[in-house]
Amino acid sequence: MMAPLFSSKLLLVLLFGTLFGLVLGVLPGLGPTTGGALILPFTMTLDPLSAIILLTSIYCAGTYGGAITAVLINTPGTPAAAATCLDGYPLAQKGEAGRALGMATVSSTVGGIFSVIVLVFFAPILANLAYEFGQPEYFALAIFGLTMLASIGDGSPIKNLIAGAFGILISTVGKDFMTSIDRFTYGINELSVGIGFIPVVVGLFAISEMLTQSTLLDQVFKRVALKAVKLPTKDDYKKTWKTILRSSGIGSFIGVLPAEGGTVASLIGYSEAKRFSKNPEEFGKGSVEGIAGAEAANNAATGGAMVPTLALGIPGSATTAVILTGLIIHGVRPGPDLFKEQPEFLYGIFGAMLVANVLFFIFGFFGAKLFARITLVPNKILWPMIFAVSVCGTYSLSQSIIDVWIMLFFGVLGFFMRRYGFSVVPVIIGLILGELVEGTLRQSIVIFDGNWLMFLTRPIALTFFILSLIALAFPLIRSKKNKKII
């Protein structure tokens, strides 16, 4: 599994990806999704394996990096680290920032490695199952992925579904792939090829965040001093090993579900840690179990989310949607054939994820203090620089200025979506699944000779439809209980 990694070039890529991922994770507002999208154009100079290793190492390290800011300045570097703030910051305020970060680092590493094991075992099994899938099954699976959007972390279920539908709608812009008829192009030639994934992702994440930062200029972070990261004590291990394992399992499972990701995993991991804890009253006041529960789960979601991405071509999270785009750009088609035809490529990815988890443990343990200093770069300097990279990166993919304008449009749109409680993640998932949904639907209708009820005669498709109904009903019922349906 590790053999493909024994090359200096790949190790260098892995090292750079891990460091870059940590920097992205530490900076609030950035994160592995935005960072992955920004670096995607640069990967064009790399071979496919190096490119995907770069993206996956950014994913693993970026997810962990969010914990550093969550503990030290009570601001999650990534949305997946939101639950870490609940106990990480209170513990840091008690003068135990090193202990909090040590627990976050260990549980993130265990969660990450656990999830890679899950990935190694389950991705080939899922890929084998996918051989049974025809167009109707893929359509039902894509619908299941989209209905799962209803229950993703931020945003209400209905708003998430609207955003997901909007993402699919964006994917219909341009020439219809079956009939070559223009849709929503309004005479603009550049739109005939459709709206690219990168301008939308960079706009919705980086540019909308820039606008958000423009509204938060008077915000002052209360920073907690960090002397050194401390490994958990024997007592801490005794207290948390069950929580870490449980959260690793939860995170990996949530990660495997299409469209779900680290944010949901960490919230569930945290609440389960509290439920099973002997001292639930300590949660929110600096409980190490709380930190372990959230961090093991969000990092375990990374490997889990790669399972449907590699085996089925269905992204398990927003960042894996970027990785999926990277695979497609580099001519690698995810799915069962990938496992049969290019196993060494997949082993390279699995091995890289494993090494990335070890690397971020080392960097996190020895360098957290240094990474935390990155947050000292003022926004008034950082964001104009990010803008310059965003613009050039977006332009570079198709060398089209229209793409840059599309990026700005989605930046403004993303800002207002967030302002009014719409998550931008469903737009990304919808956009990447759009062609699959429409293509498989239309091909299924041809196969069924226009008889829609034939979908119900396919057991796998029917199972996915039932799961979709459950996926829709569950968050609606839960939200109704919490009175948070809108």
Binding site: T172, T179, D182, S214, K380, P384, I445, I486
Partner: protein
């Protein structure tokens, strides 16, 4: 709890067209309706070439779904009004203006000049006054990015008054 109630009250006291829920509802419905109408002008394929459904059918279905879901959230908002949003601060509008400036300058003058102007405009309006840092974000950093993309990725940027100096 009282705080939430006050926020709700503050939002309810506004005329309905100023409330967040109405603004969102109105915008989505308006845009979706315009797009839905435009789908009726899409070309159609003759039945013999038509594989399953017409090219306009799928987007139509999506737009109808969006309209229905938006109507549901608007209906639900009568029972549970959204919290009132804070007014947007001046730097936000200045950043939006800088985007407009970027588009105008990149279209008429030069792509890199547009990046420089936006960077200095944003940095200054967000509070940076130190000349070195203003130069760093507006000239030094974009130049590094330009050289990196040009030399390593072999990218050719669109022509303009400054970019042409490099190319010719």
């Amino acid at each position: 709890m009282n705080n939430v109630r006050n926020k709700k009250r503050a939002n309810k006291s506004l005329p309905f067209f100023f409330r967040s829920e109405f603004k969102v509802f109105f915008t989505i419905i308006l845009v979706s309706t315009i797009l839905l109408i435009s789908t009726f002008s899409f070309d159609t394929v003759p039945p013999i070439l038509n594989r399953g459904i017409q090219p306009a059918t799928f987007p139509k279905g999506l737009l109808v779904l969006m309209i229905v879901l938006t109507s549901i959230i608007y209906y639900l908002s009568f029972r549970r009004p959204w919290k009132k949003e804070k007014n947007l601060p001046k730097p936000f509008f200045l950043t939006i203006i800088s985007f407009v400036l970027f588009i105008v300058i990149s279209k008429t003058l030069d792509f890199f000049l547009a990046i420089s102007v936006l960077s200095i405009f944003v940095s200054y309006n967000w509070g940076e006054r130190r000349v070195f840092y203003l130069l760093l974000v507006s000239i030094i950093f974009p130049l590094v990015v330009f050289i990196f993309f040009e030399m390593i990725l072999g990218l050719r940027f669109p022509p303009g008054i400054i970019t042409n100096l490099y190319y010719y």
